[in-house]
Symmetry: C2
Subunit: 161 residues, 2 copies
């Protein structure tokens, strides 16, 4: 539990810091986009580093779905102490990962009050997924959406090479 | 292990980000001071949050030394997976906490090559100690020094009230 808390607190600090630092700059217009991409880029590098460690002693994966299952189970549970609750795919490179109680949103009130703040707290994790997949040879785009707190859907669209 | 890695990677990202963002600003002069205090402030808030959780079910402490022992043992091992190796005090409010293999420095080469970079990676932890102590009623100043990697000494000077 303590570890989760350390990560969650540190994550909150980063989000707060990135948004605060942008607010003091002049280019307020670009604020939101820049913050999200800053956080996403951090997550990307952390995801790359983590997956390298986690897969050190793993056999290789047989296909994209196999990789995605690894991310949903092993990768996710090491970071967030639970697996992704639901993985769906159209078998054409799009995957939807649903976490019904996403750790970085559980500190929020369950109502709609903070719904618009949620994306701030998802950018880093989108980056982590993208970084992990990238190191496993899958380049793609990862987005997230929240409709009901603290549940969250990550959509992964793999780019065909 | 995985948890440590997550924290370490995230910590590295923060340090990198804070220094990079400062480098792009005009006030290069103040660069170093500002970065250190930004990181220290983040650590302070994280330390406050953590100690609140960790001491939730703890009996109260009988004196400053008792608090410091708690920080060296329980607090430190939850965060860094090991206790502080050596705690010394002059019994007048100054404490020296020595960690012979400080987790945030172990990724560095052991030689002197990166010795001057070490302070960047200590500011956050100084803040964490200060935040933890502050929530336990001890206001003080926390500094760190490294003479041989990856060993590190934190000096805590408690301000008499």
């Amino acid at each position: 539990m303590a570890d989760d808390v350390l990560f969650e607190f540190l994550h909150m600090e980063i989000v707060g810091h990135v948004y605060k630092e942008q607010a003091t700059r002049e280019d307020i217009d670009k604020e939101r986009v820049t913050c999200v991409s800053t956080l996403e880029a951090m997550g990307f590098r952390v995801g790359q580093g983590l997956i390298e460690r986690f897969t050190k002693d793993c056999p290789s994966f047989k296909d994209d779905l196999d990789i995605m299952k690894f991310v949903c189970k092993d990768f996710w549970s090491t970071i967030f102490k639970k697996q992704i609750d639901n993985l769906r795919t159209n078998h054409q490179g799009t995957f939807v990962l649903q976490d019904n109680t996403f750790a970085l949103l559980t500190q929020f009130s369950i109502g709609k009050q903070y719904l618009e703040d949620a994306p701030k707290y998802l950018a880093f994790s989108c980056g982590m997924i993208r970084g992990a997949l990238s190191n496993l040879g899958l380049e793609g785009v990862v987005t997230a959406e929240v409709s009901v707190m603290p549940s969250c859907k990550f959509q992964v669209v793999i780019q065909k090479t």
